[in-house]
Symmetry: C2
Subunit: 495 residues, 2 copies
């Protein structure tokens, strides 16, 4: 597909919807001669949750724009994150991530995976050359600059580990060793990216471009960092679990500012819907998908009852609220702005939005779960990668307890925003935040740690300057307590 | 020889004259079963000066005590120290250090070099295993502990490099990778050593013992850090240069507190004299020395006119002042205490002490220089290792200037106290300190950077909280200016 696009069209695809582009000229210059090479990294720790859709949806744009995309499966960083799980366990997790990401790209995002290069961190991060460059960098970079670079993504605890100062530099080196033209991440990575731009040339290496996504708040709601193990939706969560968690989400009528569900619609559902409609409009097939895209019902689906008074003929529907016929039937949207306006004007009820988001997520997950069920190897790897999910929580709990004392600060993996360490919740807000949450935005919640496309793990006992905010009880779904219990059992993630 | 000693005698030899021993029990336990293994490191940067005698004289004790001694020639650290000299140049310097250290051990200290293992840093410090351990350590050690460990040996500048936090941990790992029972260094390394004791076990490695030498002030005098390129005596300096530099040394009559010359006598000349007399007493031959030790004239020599009223029969002379016959002839000492008392009581004139120290140093250097002159390979390596000494200072000066801006802080190599960065001298004290200086003691001069067995290089423009101290003009030798000029040309060290 990319062969048919002009360099300008590719650049537009590569950079659309981003919050910031540093070094756009670098990309433009490359595109005049060849397709671009990019890099995004994730530490292979806990099971990814649907917050990963935010980054992956943007990566779909890159792939459509002809980018050869290196996805760094940072096993070394995952290992260093904990130091208790042996590398052999991490190796299984690498396989799990690979199976999952491929399924998402192929089955839900319909993008050409032939342009994706999965690179395992230990394949080059322990080599002589890489380590010499690490030493060289450490003898060039100041403590101050290293600390400043990590300030936004590194949780500023009282007694941070030395590795926190090391990782920003390593993330810069990855650009060189992966041989890419740009690195992609959330905008909270900005200081790490500018450090790379500043220091790679000092080692005699080229300065790379940096593409930054907006930060997306968690489904749980804007002002809170979701730091509860029950507050995330796993890609393999069955429909009933998804519905229960979404029902728990904070979603106040007419409130479009502090609404994690709307944010998820904007950052994931609408873009996925648009991607699908673009493919359909071009009449393209996705090879990896095994055929043409079936028209979905909720995300990028076709529908008649377009909202509002505007004439929607010829404009593709990208999101649908499957409202019951007795309340007026389904409503179709061609843009996020339409939906936001409707919700603001209280013409869309929170209950309908919750149902719509749950419908949409279930629709996105369905082909992934189908793939999982039919793939014996993936299932086998999952059992090996996350044994505690089936073996009970006794041993795991003790391990976590032990780890907590030493693991004061968990450094971020390259290209990945670190795990969110939210405020310690009191009894009330614990219930409120024990809801389905995919992404937690640092910018929104005011804490330095943020999450975007990274596994969300709780750190009980950590504190934050950000006070927790009490939620109006009305915003809580009716099945809250049941869902919490259910979530505890089903969504337990070993780490 | 060590085979004939009991474990207790070996322990006594290994630990004598040290300021502090941490983990003596570890050594005692090993000695019950086998001989010990130790490690001392030096970064192969500038040409070593005679301050190295302090550490090497103690290493001679280790070797006599049966220790298998690993000498780490830290080429990687030397390279990282500067980042401008390529590793190929550093490789020549490694060879220079090896030739020199072997000559000192064989020809001047008469110790069995078969027990010495020279290990080049890059032979293991870039391996996968070592780097994995480095990462593990960085994910275990806190910033705070790393910083604290380097506080005494790392110059506390405003904008330190990240490497300064890395080196203490690497120095700990060296103990494991060199497979030793103890590490040896100056007492200013204490915090680095205790860090190793604290953190190696956390990686699953054994805690090692740590042996610490006293800090020895520079020949230039106690209260000043010698930071002038002309203020060091090279092992290859010819006798006339040695005499000129010693004449410039601050040496006040009766002052035994602030007297770099006396400190050198105590830390080097007397121990070397004692080592020699011990060998003679045992009737041993040093195989590497090619035969029996010729009785020296000044250091460990035999003489008749023993000082004082005490009956010296049967007590070995270890140091001799070769006073002219018209002033009473030579005076022989059997201990440092005797000499110090004589000087304190003003029965030894500064001029006589200066002459004696110069005589003694020339005597120590003579067999080393003879070896150098007869070793074409060593001479060849020297020209390649330090090309600027013959090629003029123009290019080198520019390089140094350029380096200064970036190299705000030079981290210490493993096992080696960093280069002394003394106070910026004013016009008066510049002359006073432009004297022969071998070692600069952090403890004595009150600045965190210290020198012991490491190359002394100036950093013009660096400042210190320690005020410079004006010297009485009377303490200056008459050939001061000539010697400075001479020194500038002859002792120029490229770095």
């Amino acid at each position: 597909m990319s062969k048919q696009l002009t360099p300008e069209e590719k650049y537009e695809l590569i950079t659309r919807r981003l919050q910031e582009v540093l070094g756009g000229d670098i990309i433009k210059k490359v595109l005049e001669e060849r397709d671009c090479k990019g890099y995004w990294g994730t530490a292979t720790t806990g099971k990814p949750h649907i917050g990963y859709f935010v980054a992956l949806t943007k990566i779909a744009d890159f792939l459509h724009g002809g980018v050869e995309m290196s996805i760094l499966l940072a096993d070394l960083h995952a290992f260093l994150d904990n130091l208790k799980a042996p590398l052999s366990l991490v190796a299984h997790r690498v396989q799990y991530y690979k199976f999952l990401l491929l399924a998402i790209f192929k089955k839900t995002l319909h993008v050409p995976t032939s342009q994706i290069k999965f690179v395992v961190g230990t394949s080059y991060q322990l080599t002589e050359a890489y380590n010499m460059d690490n030493y060289r960098l450490c003898a060039t970079i100041t403590e101050h600059d290293a600390k400043k670079a990590g300030a936004e993504v590194v949780k500023q605890v009282g007694n941070p580990l030395l590795s926190g100062l090391l990782y920003p530099g390593l993330q810069a080196l990855d650009e060189q060793y992966l041989g890419v033209d740009f690195q992609f991440g959330g905008v909270d990575q900005r200081k790490i990216f500018t450090l790379a731009e500043q220091y790679l040339p000092k080692l005699g290496y080229a300065k790379r471009a940096h593409l930054m996504n907006h930060m997306v708040p968690g489904l749980a709601g804007g002002k809170m960092s979701s730091s509860d193990p029950n507050s995330k939706i796993d890609f393999l969560d069955p429909p009933n679990v998804v519905r229960k968690k979404i029902k728990l989400a904070f979603c106040e009528e007419g409130n479009v500012e502090d609404n994690g569900l709307l944010s998820f619609v904007k950052a994931v559902l609408i873009p996925v819907g648009e991607l699908r409609r673009e493919l359909i409009a071009r009449g393209e097939k996705c090879e990896d998908d095994g055929g043409e895209i079936e028209l979905p019902k909720y995300v990028g689906g076709e529908g008649e009852g377009v909202v509002g008074d505007k004439n929607k003929e010829g404009v593709a529907v990208v999101f649908t609220i499957g409202r019951d016929e007795k309340y007026g039937g389904p409503v179709h949207y061609t843009s996020y702005a339409e939906l936001e306006e409707e919700f603001k004007e209280k013409r869309v009820h929170p209950g309908d939005l919750k149902k719509a988001v749950a419908d949409a997520i279930i629709e996105l997950l369905e082909p992934i779960q189908k793939e999982y069920e039919s793939n014996a190897e993936w299932k086998d790897v999952t059992a090996k990668a996350y044994p505690s999910e089936t073996s009970g929580s006794g041993k795991d709990g003790a391990k976590k307890e032990e780890g907590k004392k030493k693991k004061v600060y968990v450094p971020p993996p390259p290209g990945v925003v670190p795990k969110s360490k939210g405020p310690k919740k009191d009894a009330d807000s614990a219930i409120a935040t024990a809801v389905a949450s995919a992404t937690a935005a640092a910018t929104a919640v005011g804490v330095p740690a943020a999450l975007e496309g990274a596994a969300l793990m709780p750190e009980e006992g950590t504190t934050s300057e950000t006070p927790t905010k009490g939620l109006p009880p009305a915003a809580l779904g009716e099945e809250a307590v049941d869902a919490i219990k259910d979530g505890v059992e089903r969504v337990k993630i070993e780490e």
